[in-house]
């Protein structure tokens, strides 16, 4: 569904992405992990067209996304921090997004909207909302238009446990609908029961891209978090060695 070839990006002298090759398919729930500054967010933003790659290509369903915009109809994006025009109400933000997407009301997926009970605070101004409520609005917007691809940047940060569970259930539902879901997250344990694939990034490179099963076998552990920790310690030693060379 998404083919990334030789993708590189630098901001000035800073190389953020280095020759990334990835192939992502529907039905996968991918956890994109890596230390801070490893290029996760830049990779996501490249797919979303928010960052223009320095070189390389991204194809979405076979079409190069460079200078394209219509493909984003098929992507739902939940940003890390949802900032909205401060004087608009929740209702107006929802209306605006509906206007942009032009999807008829009866085809909208309003499950999160109902479960988060946003209907009770439609008139609240965005500037009066807590971080958690903003995350709820962001999540609701990402899922509302039943996109083929969901890109969730730190989705559970700031959400209370109840909301986190609602969101997780929703993600699992969507995975079963053969959708491609990309999640970046630091809180690994949250993701254990969702993830089918892991992409580990460091210093702008994809260190590996494996299924959860493969990873567990390779590392000999059952828990995702332990597997990751194992990998990270290995990789760090490896990178030290490369420096010594």
């Amino acid at each position: 569904m998404i083919e990334i070839k030789q993708l590189s990006k630098h901001f000035g002298k800073l190389q953020v992405l280095r020759e990334i090759d990835l192939s992502l398919e529907g039905g996968q729930c991918i956890s994109l992990i890596g230390p801070n500054g490893s290029g996760k967010t830049t990779l996501i933003k490249s797919i979303l067209g928010m960052v223009i790659p320095s070189s390389g290509t991204i194809h979405f369903e076979g079409k190069n996304i460079s200078r394209e915009w219509a493909y984003r109809n098929d992507i739902g994006y939940m940003p890390q921090i949802g900032e909205y025009p401060e004087n608009m109400s929740i209702g107006q933000v929802l209306d605006m997004m509906k206007d942009i997407r032009k999807i008829p009301e009866n085809l909208l997926d309003t499950e999160l909207y109902e479960k988060f009970e946003l209907d009770k605070m439609l008139d609240k101004r965005m500037r009066t909302l807590s971080g958690g409520t903003r995350q709820k609005v962001s999540a609701c917007l990402a899922f509302m238009f039943s996109p083929k691809v969901l890109i969730l940047d730190e989705p559970t940060a700031g959400l209370d446990p109840v909301a986190t569970e609602i969101l997780k259930d929703k993600i699992i539902d969507e995975k079963h609908k053969n959708k491609l879901i990309m999640i970046t997250s630091h809180v690994l344990s949250d993701l254990d029961d969702l993830v089918s694939q892991i992409i580990y990034m460091q210093d702008g490179r994809v260190m590996f891209h494996k299924s959860l099963v493969e990873l567990k076998v390779d590392t000999g552990t059952n828990k995702l978090s332990k597997a990751i920790a194992h990998i990270m310690s290995l990789k760090q030693e490896l990178s030290k060695e490369t420096i010594y060379e």
Partner: protein, 256 residues
């Protein structure tokens, strides 16, 4: 451009406290001036200082801050199925319309009521143009400079330059080259500053009699004739279009 985004930008700005305050302050100032002053042109002359000083300052600084505060939201819009150009131009139109609207309510309407005259109309035209021109300059500032405080700093410097420093340079040139026939060159140089263009256009109405004198006549011959007026308005539109065009070109390639 996207009508929806324009609509939502305007909805947001209509409830913005700064915009409301700006409108009310302009309204209070113009009512104060016009109710105390019975000579229309004298009232216009007082209003001119506000239009040349306050309107550009608020337009550029407010718009710059608004753009920085909206940067996350602009990013979100870019992740939506929308063309970048239509997002950027829609925000420009929304901001421009609102700043022009605030000016029109605050100064335009009182001027039409209390000082309906050629000079009053010229003042309104100048104020509307300055509003959108300084929004356009703000778009340019905010897109090029990523850091908010540096961006606001540049906006203030740009305003200082157009409102004060430019005239100081002009004054210096005038003293330096007073012995040469520099009137035409001065007219050309004044075109490099939209605030000066506005000032001269209103000047030609309220100080018409003095402007009919020798030097004034040169300015009047240029600004007052149909062709000169056409060129002048053209230059004002360029002052709106060029920064916006540059900012849009940059925005299309910008990493958010």
């Amino acid at each position: 451009m996207s009508k929806k985004i324009i609509k939502y930008v305007i909805t947001d700005l209509l409830r913005n406290r700064t915009v409301l305050l700006y409108t009310l302050v302009l309204l209070a100032l113009s009512l104060g001036v016009f109710l105390m002053e019975d000579n229309i042109d004298k009232g216009i002359a007082s209003m001119l200082n506000i239009v040349l000083f306050v309107v550009p300052l608020v337009s550029i600084v407010f718009s710059t801050i608004y753009l920085y505060n909206s940067s996350e939201f602009i990013g979100l819009l870019v992740s939506q199925p929308l063309k970048r150009q239509s997002i950027w131009l829609s925000i420009a139109v929304g901001l421009g319309v609102m700043m022009a609207f605030a000016f029109f309510v605050g100064i335009g309407v009182p001027t039409l009521i209390f000082a309906y005259s050629a000079s009053g109309l010229m003042l309104i035209v100048a104020g509307l143009l300055l509003s959108v021109i300084f929004v356009s300059l703000a778009m340019w500032t905010a897109v090029y400079i990523r850091d908010k405080s540096k961006g606001i700093g540049l906006a203030i410097i740009l305003w200082l330059y157009f409102a004060l420093i430019f005239d100081a340079i002009l004054l210096f040139l005038l003293f330096q080259f007073a012995d040469y026939p520099i009137e035409n060159i001065m007219v050309a140089i004044s075109m490099l500053n939209p605030i000066d263009i506005s000032r001269i256009l209103v000047l030609l109405e309220i100080d018409l009699s003095a402007m009919m004198g020798y030097t004034g006549a040169i300015f009047r011959d240029f600004f007052g004739t149909g062709g000169g007026m056409f060129v002048t308005l053209g230059v004002m539109l360029l002052w709106f279009a060029v920064p916006l065009w540059l900012s849009n070109r940059y925005f299309k390639k910008k990493d958010l």
